[in-house]
C-alpha cells in the first residue's frame, strides 16, 4: 500500500528535536507528525493519502476554500509548533514526496539552501505589520499639517485652510505612499530583514480599508521590544493611519533567501 501514500513536508531544521515537539500534533491529513533525518538536517513530515494529496487531488482540493483553509491552518500549526522549540525553515504548502527516501534525497540535494536559510532565521522571528488608512481622516490630517500656525478666525486663514483641504485631496495618495515607505524604512532599521508584499486581497482580509503597507519583518529575538516600541511610535505619529501587527510567525517570508528584497 506504500504507493497510495505520500510524505507531506512541513519544515526543515538543524536543531535537535527530541521527539516530544511533534508528539500529539496532527497534520494536514490528521496524521501523526514525525521526523526524517539526514546528514544533520531534520525534516518534519507526515504521511498523507494520495487520494487527497496526489497531484490531481491537490489541484482540485486547493480550489476549495474550506479545504484550503483547513490544510493551511494545519500546516501552519505544525510549523509553528516546531518553531517554538527550534529554528525552522518552513516549506511552502504542498511539498509532497513519494517516500522517506526521497525526503532524505531532498535534504541532501538542498543542504546548502537549508543551511543558509537556517543561518538567516536562527534567533529571529517574523512579524507582520500592516498600515491601513482612513482616506477622510488622512486628508484632514494632511490639510491640517499644511496650515499649522496659520491662525484662525481671519479670512486669510480660512482661505489658506480651504486651499490646503483641496490640495490635500489631491495629494493624499502620494502622501500616504510616502508615509508607508517611511514606516517600512524605519521598521527595516530595527529588523534583520524585511519585505513589502502585495496588499492583501480584501476578499481574504475581510477588510475594506485602504491598505498602504503589507510589510513583514525578520526581527532579532533580543530586539523584539525595540521593534514593538518602534511600531507603537510610528502608530502615534500619523493621524489617519492605523497599524496592525501580526505574529510571532515562523519565518515563512524569509525561508527562501533569494526572495528577500528590501
Amino acid at each position: 500500500m506504500t504507493d497510495t501514500t505520500g510524505i507531506w513536508m512541513y519544515a526543515v531544521t538543524d536543531g535537535t528535536l527530541v521527539g516530544h515537539e511533534t508528539e500529539g500534533t496532527s497534520g494536514v491529513a490528521g496524521e501523526q507528525v514525525r521526523t526524517v533525518q539526514e546528514g544533520g538536517l531534520t525534516a518534519v513530515v507526515g504521511t498523507v493519502p494520495l487520494d487527497d494529496f496526489g497531484e490531481a487531488a491537490l489541484a482540485r482540493n486547493l480550489e476549495d476554500l474550506d479545504w484550503l483553509e483547513r490544510v493551511a491552518r494545519a500546516h501552519d500549526s505544525v510549523v509553528a509548533g516546531v518553531a517554538r522549540h527550534v529554528s525552522v525553515v518552513p516549506l511552502r504548502l504542498a511539498t509532497v514526496c513519494l517516500d522517506d527516501e526521497r525526503v532524505r534525497a531532498l535534504l541532501t540535494e538542498h543542504r546548502e539552501q537549508f543551511s543558509s536559510a537556517l543561518a538567516l532565521v536562527t534567533g529571529r522571528t517574523e512579524w507582520g505589520v500592516k498600515a491601513f488608512a482612513d482616506r477622510k481622516a488622512l486628508t484632514a490630517a494632511v490639510a491640517e499639517a499644511q496650515t499649522e500656525g496659520a491662525g484662525s478666525g481671519t479670512g486669510t486663514a480660512y482661505l489658506l485652510r480651504r486651499r490646503a483641504q483641496l490640495a490635500a485631496q489631491e495629494s493624499v495618495e502620494r502622501d500616504a505612499a510616502a508615509r508607508a515607505a517611511e514606516i517600512h524604512e524605519r521598521l527595516l532599521r530595527v529588523s534583520a530583514a524585511g519585505r513589502r508584499g502585495a496588499p492583501t486581497d480584501p476578499a481574504l482580509s475581510g477588510s475594506h480599508e485602504w491598505m498602504l503597507l503589507n510589510g513583514t519583518y525578520l526581527v532579532d529575538d533580543d530586539r523584539t521590544d525595540e521593534f514593538r516600541s518602534e511600531v507603537e511610535e510610528l502608530a502615534s505619529m500619523y493621524t489617519g493611519i492605523r497599524l496592525e501587527t501580526s505574529g510571532p510567525w515562523p519565518p515563512y517570508s524569509f525561508a527562501g533567501a533569494e526572495r528577500i528584497s528590501p
Binding site: 513519494l98 502585495a198 481574504l204 501587527t245
Partner: protein
Amino acid sequence: MTVIGGGGGGTSSPQPYGGGGRSTNLGDILERVLDKGLVIAGDIQVNLLDIELLTIKLRLVIASLETAKAVGIDWWESDPWLTSKARAPEVDSSRAELELENRRLRERLAALEARAEELEPEPAEIVDEEDRD
C-alpha cells in the same frame, strides 16, 4: 493612530506563535504558506499559480495597478512572483482582455462570498472578518 493585534494572529504580548489558531487571519496564513516558505520541488508537482483563488488575488492587485502607478507605487515591478503573470506586452489587446477577466473574476468573487455566507453557524473567516471594525 492605534496599534491592534492583527486579525487575532497578532497578540500584543509576546506569546509564542499563535499560528494555526482559529482566530488567526486566514489571509495572513495563506499569504505565507502559499506565497512564501522555501520552495523545493517534491515528487508531486502542483503549480500554485494555477489556483484560481490565487489568480483572483493577483488580478485584484493588478486591477489597482494603474491607480497606484500614477502615485509612484511600483514596487511590484521588481517582485518576481507578481511580474511572472503581470507582464503583458500587448497593451491594447490586453486591456479588453483584462476588462473581461475582471468581470469574470467579480462574478466568481461574488459567488465565493455568497458561498462563504452560507456557512452557518460557524461563519467562514471572510464573513468573520467583515464584522470587524
